[in-house]
Amino acid sequence: MMLESLSMILIALGTVFFIAGTVGLLRFPDIYCRLHALTKADGLGLALIALGVALLADSMGEVFRIILIWFFVAVASATCGHLIARYERRSGEGPSYD
């Protein structure tokens, strides 16, 4: 029971981060800010949700797979964030300072 409420709280927290990320994507002025908001918020959001779901999992195998997924998404999203930023800079759009 304890575990279940804990996981509920974690998942809810994760969702809040996702919402924050989306708001950032919609409201921030340029690519770089949006990228920053999104990768950070979503990375954390997914981590919390993964933790919450892992607490509910039935077997160690599932927990292991959940951790793997989280790890891969974290690494991939960092790399992809970097690639997008790099792409944008090479396309000649610098950050805006207004």
């Binding site: 891969f72 690494v75 991939a76 790399t79 970097h82 790099r86």
Partner: protein
């Protein structure tokens, strides 16, 4: 109170329809492809909701992942050929005369009418309909595997699956026939972070692909999903120029394309005889044979999909030929 999952389904269904409309109506072709990829992944989610994880896997990996890359590749090539790479937007590339409004309306009305008729026919369908469930359940012990979808694909309807691999083979032959040459639209250098990531990701993808193939015997997964995931290794190698196809590699590539079809059909024929017909695996060897076929088919699918992505027979063309040919 309404079940929130119903709201989730409704929202997902509506957004899938909206995305379908957006794919066709957005002006920029690059955006249309991005939207199509998202449309495909949302559809995969919908199929998960319908308890079809196998289909969702196949759709995510082949229908969306590989197809999305294929579409982007083509768009990039078209922009390169037409010299519009430096434009920020990718508009229609063939000259388009606008369709007159009345035609559009007639077309929309026509398709709407068809949709209406289909919807009526769909809603008329019996709620608890006849199906293959009972037959499959009855035949499962004799199939050699524990996962029904794999049993259907590689045993009960193995003939269909063989022909599906033949379709892939036909596709790669046709693509090689249409296009050839080594020259290619240039690609950017991806930098060091990417190199580090690739060193981690490529083996991870191989592991996941193999795992999907292996797990197919008892859980969702199998040759097609595993093959498509492995194909994405090929995609990454080709995209990042870690591997550039050479004319000398054509022989082995041909062998890899044919491998799956060849072994599949050879096994199908060789098990027959002595009262058994083609595709009738002896029960005690069924699992081994199915895994053998699946393993080799996976390799073929992975290589074929990667070759379809590369999209041309790697032939060194002479100067004259290149001028006439690219």
């Amino acid at each position: 109170m309404t079940d929130p999952l119903v709201i989730f389904d409704l929202l997902l269904g509506l957004s899938i329809v909206a995305l379908a409309l957006a794919v066709l109506s957005v002006r920029d072709l690059f955006a249309a492809i991005v939207l199509f990829v998202i449309f495909g992944l949302l559809s995969a989610l919908a199929w998960v909701r319908l308890s079809a994880p196998d289909v969702a896997l196949a759709e995510a990996a082949i229908g969306t992942g590989v197809t999305g890359a294929l579409l982007l590749k083509t768009l990039h090539h078209l922009r390169y050929v037409t010299g519009t790479l430096d434009r920020p937007e990718a508009m229609n590339l063939t000259p388009v005369t606008p369709v007159p409004m009345p035609v559009l309306w007639v077309n929309a009305a026509f398709c709407g009418l068809i949709a209406l008729g289909l919807a009526v026919a769909f809603l008329e369908a019996p709620k608890v309909g006849p199906g293959f469930d009972a037959l499959v359940a009855e035949a499962m012990p004799a199939s050699g595997v524990d996962h029904p979808v794999t049993a259907v694909l590689l045993n009960f309807r193995a003939y269909d699956t063989l022909m599906e691999v033949v379709v892939l083979l036909a596709a790669v032959i046709a693509v090689w026939q249409v296009e050839r040459g080594l020259s290619e639209a240039p690609a950017p250098h991806l930098g060091e972070v990417w190199q580090g990531f690739a060193r981690l990701a490529l083996p991870a993808i191989v592991v996941v692909g193999t795992y999907l193939l292996w797990v197919g015997a008892e859980a969702p997964g199998g040759a097609f999903q595993g093959g498509a995931v492995l194909a994405s290794v090929g995609l990454l190698l080709l995209l990042s120029r870690f591997y550039v196809p050479q004319p000398a590699h054509r022989g082995i590539a041909r062998l890899a394309f044919v491998l799956g079809t060849g072994v599949f059909s050879a096994v199908a024929l060789l098990v027959s005889g002595g009262g058994r017909v083609a595709f009738e695996y002896p029960l005690e060897h069924a699992k081994t044979l199915i895994l053998l076929i699946e393993g080799l088919v996976t390799i073929s699918i992975a290589v074929t999909l990667a070759a379809l992505f590369h999209g041309r027979e790697p032939v060194a063309l002479g100067e004259e030929e290149r001028r006439n040919d690219t």
